[in-house]
């Protein structure tokens, strides 16, 4: 039965129209995400993956096609987005940031407090809850951002390269933390990244995207057992092969794009 499907995207396209040129950001995107599945959208920068996520997050309207997100429990919000590091609101304390979603949907006070406190402790920000974002590090800000989304308790989490701005060590730590929080909630996740390692570590399934106009060109099932740890994923020879395979694809996508750009240069240049 198809009732297990949580997100269904059909022939989705987005065109950014300007006076003299229109850019086809994504074209004819089709995919489905199952309930409780962790899916990574992996592609080179500029492939329109953020545009796709913004459409699903309700921040952008598609130009063509349709998408559907099945809202199971009406008491919970459908989706929440985890933004990049600067999505933490500077004039709210860490605590207020984490409670933001619950406050916006006017959840009962005791539920707000309970969930906020739980996730503050969960991401290790309890001692820092009264501080402002300007007083904490980038890694801690991203923890707050993750806690804010999980505290809001949506059915679907949309993540827009949440760890891209972090240094390596922080990134690894947060990836594992994300996995451990996710494993206890089993929410449906659509995660955008340009990092192959990240996609291999986190996802059940990887959707590979080509560069502009962005389309999904391949799909990879990652059937590693969970819970996963960075060390075990890294040392798995099968994952090494997958890495190379994906890398080749991305290389082609990027080079193909460059080649296209070169041939389209006007002749006068030479």
């Amino acid at each position: 039965m198809s009732s297990d499907i949580k997100i269904r995207v059909h022939q989705l396209s987005k065109i950014f129209f300007r006076k003299n040129s229109s850019v086809h950001a994504i074209r004819d995107i089709n995919f489905e995400v199952k309930n409780g599945e962790f899916v990574c959208l992996l592609g080179p920068s500029g492939c329109g993956k953020t545009t796709l996520l913004r459409i699903l997050a309700g921040l952008e309207k598609p130009s063509g096609g349709s998408y559907e997100m099945i809202h199971g429990d009406r008491n919970k919000p459908l989706q929440s987005m985890i933004f990049q590091e600067k999505g933490v609101i500077p004039w709210m304390t860490v605590e207020e940031n984490v409670a933001f979603g619950l406050r916006m949907r006017h959840a009962p006070k005791n539920e707000t407090k309970e969930r906020t406190d739980y996730y503050l402790k969960k991401v290790g920000l309890w001692e820092f809850r009264k501080l402002y974002p300007s007083e904490i590090s980038g890694g801690m800000k991203q923890r707050a951002s993750i806690a804010r989304a999980f505290a809001n308790d949506p059915e679907i989490l949309l993540m827009d390269e949440p760890f891209a701005a972090l240094d390596e060590q922080n990134k690894y730590i947060l990836q594992e933390e994300l996995l451990s929080i996710w494993e206890e909630t089993k929410k449906t996740v659509l995660f955008i990244t340009h990092s192959i390692d990240e996609a291999l570590l986190l996802s059940d399934r990887i959707l590979l995207m080509s560069a502009q106009p962005g389309t999904i060109v391949r799909e990879k099932i990652i059937d590693l057992p969970r819970p996963r740890k960075i060390a075990s994923v890294r040392s798995n020879p099968k994952m090494g092969k997958e890495f190379v395979d994906i890398w080749k694809h991305l290389q082609e996508a990027v080079n193909g794009n460059l080649k296209g750009a070169t041939t389209s240069l006007p002749n006068e240049v030479y």
């Binding site: 997050a57 929440s80 933004f83 600067k86 999505g87 500077p90 979603g101 974002p133 300007s134």
Partner: protein
């Protein structure tokens, strides 16, 4: 060997302490500079005036100004002028600041409001409200309220423009966050637009405060029979320059006091800014 270890442990602390003491001394030195510059100027003024190297009729010695100040204060005459000016300043300040913030927020938040009012605000801003005083007096009479309106007219513009700029400078990512987490327009207003625009808005209010003081003196010079501006003007016309200087000193004190008050308020209202 042991001796070396001890050396290594104690020396750096002593070294850093010395450095710290030095920087403290420097800080004291700077503070002294700040304190001494006005004192030196006043002393110089006193000497030059007493020795008549500068005309004591125009520049009476500061000591006599202080005497005059005490004299006026004891007379009871001064405090009534100060109070009435303060009343007009505060009334006019709030009469300008509150509409300024409201319209500024609306301009910043809603494009139709922006396109309707921004050009008007820009076009009206350069007109000195003081030049409109005759009309203001015709409408409101020679009342306290007419001074308040004049002040409000001058204060309104920097506050309005800064507030609008404050709102439109809010990073669009916070608008996205609010939207994605389902913020209603009331929540958006109080949680995003208002606090997000506060830092720039406060700069506008600080400017408004300075403009209010400039305006009150001039307004009271033109059409009033009380207040500090009136005092300055009457003493000037009667050539009692000591009295005029007393008025100027009071205005200067007001400006200083209000600035400090607003800085304090700013730290309280914007605790997230370092």
């Amino acid at each position: 060997m042991e001796k070396e270890v001890i050396m290594a442990a104690s020396q750096p602390v002593a070294y850093e302490r010395k450095k710290w003491e030095k920087s403290q001394k420097k800080q004291n030195y700077y503070r002294t500079l700040t304190l001494f510059s006005p004192i030196t100027i006043l002393a110089l003024w006193e000497v030059l005036s007493r020795t008549a190297l500068i005309d004591p009729r125009f520049f009476p010695p500061p000591s006599t100004i202080i005497v005059e100040f005490v004299h006026l204060a004891v007379n009871g005459n001064l405090s009534s002028h100060v109070m009435i000016s303060l009343y007009r300043i505060l009334g006019g300040f709030f009469l300008g600041v509150i509409p300024g913030i409201l319209l500024g927020l609306l301009i910043g938040m809603y494009k139709p409001v922006r396109y309707t009012f921004q050009p008007l605000v820009m076009a009206l801003m350069p007109i000195p409200t003081l030049a409109l005083m005759p009309i203001i007096i015709i409408i409101f009479g020679i009342t306290d309220f007419s001074k308040m309106v004049t002040i409000a007219g001058s204060v309104f513009f920097p506050v309005c423009i800064n507030t609008a700029a404050g709102v439109s400078n809010i990073d669009p990512i916070f608008v996205d966050v609010a939207k994605n987490y389902g913020a209603k327009s009331k929540d958006y207003f109080f949680k995003i637009a208002l606090p997000g625009s506060l830092p720039v808005m406060m700069e506008g209010i600080q400017m408004g405060q300075a403009i209010a003081l400039l305006t009150i003196v001039a307004a009271e010079m033109i059409g009033a029979n009380s207040g500090i501006g009136y005092l300055i003007w009457m003493d000037y016309k009667a050539f009692i320059l000591k009295g005029m200087y007393v008025g100027l000193v009071i205005i200067s004190f007001f400006g200083y006091f209000f600035s400090i008050l607003l800085r304090f308020l700013q730290r309280r209202l914007i605790p997230w800014q370092k």
